[in-house]
Amino acid sequence: MSARSELASPAVANIADTVSARSELASPAVANIADTVSVVQSVDNVALLPAYLAAGTAVLVLLADLLVARARVTVVAAALGATATVVGAVLVGSGGERRTFCVGSDCSYVFDGRAALVAVVVALLTLGVLGLSGPLLRDGTSPAGEYCFLLAASMTGGVVLGAAGDLITLIVALETLTLPLYVLVGLRRGSLASIEAAVTFFVVSVVATTLTLLGAALLYAATGALHLGRLGALFAERPELLDLPLTTAAVALVVLGLAFKVAAVPFHAWAPATYDGAPLPVAAYLSTASKLGGVVALLAVVQRALPAEVTGPVLALLAVLTMTVGNLVALRQRRTVRLLAWSSVAQAGYILAPLGALALAAGRTDDARAAAYAAAVAYAVFFVVLELGAFAAVVALRPAGAAGGTLDDLRGAARRRPWPAVALALALIGLAGLPPGLAGLFAKVTVVRSLLDGGAGWLALVVAVNAVIGLAYYLKVTAALWAAPVPGGVAGPAASGPGEPVPVGPVPAPAVRAWSVAAVLVAATAAALVLGVAPQLVLDLAAR
């Protein structure tokens, strides 16, 4: 899989080259371009370093599994690779923008500040998920080699995604991010729910990708361009392109296909079932790294390629539906992971909300647009930190290798395991956007501020009202942590009432006490606390 992604980028660049060569057939530059179509294109390998490191991680894991065949070594290899990717992305990103696979001024791979941010966050999330997977891999529920390889392959997609400069690279990177997840979701021995979840996810995701590809093809048919920057410039220069019904259809297909990936309503139905069926760490990856990937892809096309006049209203509608439906349905959930899944649907709505400001002319000034994009990125970063913290705490509170269970299983958890419970409460309150989860509060403030700067006061009010609905269920979970445990639930067979069925089989295993899970939990909570005191760190990075 990693090999495929490595090969994909140059191949795509070549395709793109031929494409633009054809569209500029009349120009005198044809001869030069014809030269560059041959394989001797100069490639900036430094720009590609993070992608190499990520892909190398996948290969390393495969080799480690093959040669040493010990779960611990495999996991450590994956963790080292992810760390190296983080370092590589930071080093390359701090050196300013680097482009490669270029035709003229259009490049297929642009490693700028945002690409570095995305690569770092995705690699860190992968590292976190690896930590959470410790107990799962130790008891052999999932095969360690395959598991880590797939995770590393997915990380490669995420690292390339942020730097993608044309539609095809973007879609291939997004697929590289998603494809391993189909397998990961189902990678739990003897679990029917996992298989079901995997199939649902696979079918929906393939349809979504097809839609996006069709949209990209139609866009190419209408404009003759695939590079994001070129598309944006074309739409700005030739507004008559927007009058073509084909263009509108193409834009809609691209946006809607990507909306599937972020699980925006009404393209969300796969998410709760998939999250709930997947192993907990994979659900954590789905709702953080995978969702971040969808957001980055959507942001890339909206910001650089597609006309805001067309995407703005669509995104505003998606945002309103997503947060409202997500929050309302989350109110009724009884299973922990389903509740988190629906809440993350709602959170995707908050991420999309700033982009909804593009629907109005006041939101399409340069300043307002920059603020909207920065707000969406900033919210996404705040969100993944808090979400990873929430999942880490749930993993820590549940028996090793267990699924998320119901809310009743979490009742009274604070009495048994005060620290993970406090961390979970902090993460949930942060997701609700209230102190002491200041990171979440500032995330909401950023979104509302960008909306009001863009003149979209109505959307700000929708966000605000949704925050109130959201608090209702976040509070329900948080309060359950401190409530008296349900008799017969966690307390074991002895405490169950006379009318209730006595649980058969062994007493539930004690909650996880793996150091790797604890480390991830501490790191995510510490990150949330630091970002709560110094949100400017994220705001600065997001604005780059």
Binding site: L441, T446, A460, V465
Partner: protein
């Protein structure tokens, strides 16, 4: 002045650090003692804040024209440091005559509540957790009163929400979870409107600095109307203004005694303070425009509160609904937008905090002893517990506004202010508010007749006359303050006069 800045930071830092320390000490009683010490230190830090201000206590002469004469707020001290430039958030604290009485009241009530908890922990979780939460609530409330930055104000406004939820949900009465959830959702609804309102202002004016914003800083009329509507709605939920009050009776009734005292004593004041400082100060045209609506709703609150109280059969619920009426007077005072009205509102705020705090302490004591709050099961309290009955009588009489006690000034002068505004509407409102004042007297006298007079009911007959030393110590400061503010209203008005006049100067 360096000392002033130090004190401002200390007022917030001491309880914040104290809360962490209290939560970290494993021994319950030791933790509570530390909590009391922390609360006492906080009170000590608030008291010298007026020191070093330019004018004496009783000097009413106008200020010499300062270089920044257009600024409508003259803080005694301020601290200003950048925090999150990307969100226009600065750590800007300040104190002046409008906020200082409320700051002291907050610190005093928190100290009394912590001290009361030292003596008696309500049923629920551990006492140290309760004390830690009370200290966090104190940080939020004090921060709200001290913030001179709109975004910072919003942040502190939000800080209060969840700790107060936890106090109600963790230590409250039988129906505490529902009441706590209702409180949290209602007040969050208010504060998200505040968030939107704040950023409507910030987006239009380009700054969140209250000193620069007060007097509207050149915002268009439309923006001001929108901003005032959002802000006033937000504060109306917190205050609470009829018809957005329905969270209050449940929360106050179900909360533990100390929770009720903090809720009624100072938490509601965040709403009225915000209305004066933020809503009126930042969007004066909007305030002028909405004043009649605000006035009508305030009078409706007074009358509805009074009538509901007349029909109440539960002690704590009656006191809770009386808060709706009293806060109605405060809001009517603000709605008049006159010097008399605003001053009356400020002194009404303080008086209500002192008296209703005392009333909730007493109601808690009665309920703890008799295990019932039903007025039908309570009578003849003066026969078996004469001291408790006497204090209850004092508090009730103070609350109904007897001249010479704290409650009088606020309510009487609100009516005077409404008459002074003149016109058919305001005169009618004044008359109706006066009728509401009479209703207040009616239901408090009914309460006293039922609870203290008559033959002792079985629940009351068991009581012993004694009061615990801790109870007396917690209540005495409130009794003395009710007397002191009643006899010398200049304690509050003396410091509030100059800032109110300055605020009125920027009103159109």
């Amino acid at each position: 002045m360096i000392l002033g800045e130090f004190l401002l930071v200390a007022v917030l830092a001491v309880p914040a650090l104290g809360a962490v320390v209290v939560a970290a000490i494993p021994h319950d009683r030791a933790a509570r003692v530390v909590g009391v010490v922390v609360a006492a230190l906080t009170l000590l830090a608030t008291l010298p804040l007026p020191a070093g201000r330019e004018r004496g206590w009783f000097a009413y002469a106008p200020l010499p024209p300062s270089p920044e004469a257009s600024v409508a707020i003259h803080p005694w001290h301020q601290v200003d440091a950048p925090w999150v430039p990307g969100l226009d958030l600065r750590f800007h604290l300040g104190v002046d005559g409008i906020s200082w009485p409320l700051v002291v009241l907050t610190a005093l009530l928190t100290l009394l509540c912590c001290y009361y908890t030292l003596w008696k922990v309500p049923e629920g979780s551990s006492g140290r957790a309760l004390v830690a939460l009370l200290l966090v609530v104190e940080v939020g409330i004090l921060g709200t009163f001290l913030a001179f930055d709109l975004v910072l104000f919003f942040v502190f406004f939000e800080v209060v929400l969840l700790p107060m939820y936890a106090v109600i949900a963790g230590w409250g009465g039988p129906d505490r979870r529902r009441a706590a959830r209702k409180f949290a959702l209602y007040t969050l609804f208010g504060s998200v409107l505040l968030l939107v309102g704040v950023f409507v202002v910030v987006a239009a004016a380009g700054t969140a600095d209250l000193l620069a914003l007060t007097g509207s800083a050149g915002m268009s009329r439309g923006t001001q109307l929108a901003a005032f509507t959002l802000l006033a709605l937000a504060f109306a939920v917190k205050s609470p203004l009829w018809p957005l009050h329905s969270w209050l009776p449940d929360a106050h009734t179900q909360a533990p005694t100390v929770g009720s005292v903090i809720l009624a004593g100072v938490l509601l004041k965040m709403g009225t303070y915000g209305l004066i400082r933020i809503a009126v100060g930042v969007a004066p045209e909007g305030a002028r425009w909405a004043a009649p609506v605000l006035g009508v709703l305030a009078v409706a609150a007074i009358l509805v509160g009074g009538l509901v109280c007349l029909a109440q059969t539960e002690l704590k619920r009656l006191i809770a609904y009386s808060s709706v009426g009293h806060m109605g007077f405060v809001l009517l005072g603000i709605a008049t937008l006159t010097a008399t009205g605003l001053q009356a509102a400020l002194i009404g705020n303080v008086a209500h905090g002192v008296i209703t705090g005392l009333l909730f302490f007493l109601a808690g004591a009665v309920k703890d002893r008799t295990h019932t709050g039903d007025l039908g099961d309570l009578s003849g309290l003066r026969e078996t517990a004469p001291r408790l009955a006497g204090l209850l009588g004092f508090a009730a009489v103070a609350s109904l506004g007897l001249p010479g006690l704290a409650g009088f000034w606020g309510e009487a002068f609100v009516v005077v202010a409404a008459v002074q505004v003149g016109g058919a509407l305001w005169t009618t409102l004044a008359v109706l508010a006066a009728v509401g004042g009479a209703l207040t007297a009616a239901y408090f006298l009914r309460l006293l007749r039922q609870v203290t007079h008559g033959r002792p009911s079985p629940a009351v007959a068991r009581l012993t006359p004694g009061l615990a030393g801790a109870e007396l110590a917690a209540w005495a400061p409130l009794v003395l303050l009710a007397l002191a503010v009643g006899l010398a209203p200049t304690l509050v008005l003396g410091v509030a006069e100059a800032p109110v006049d300055a605020l009125l100067e920027v009103l159109p």
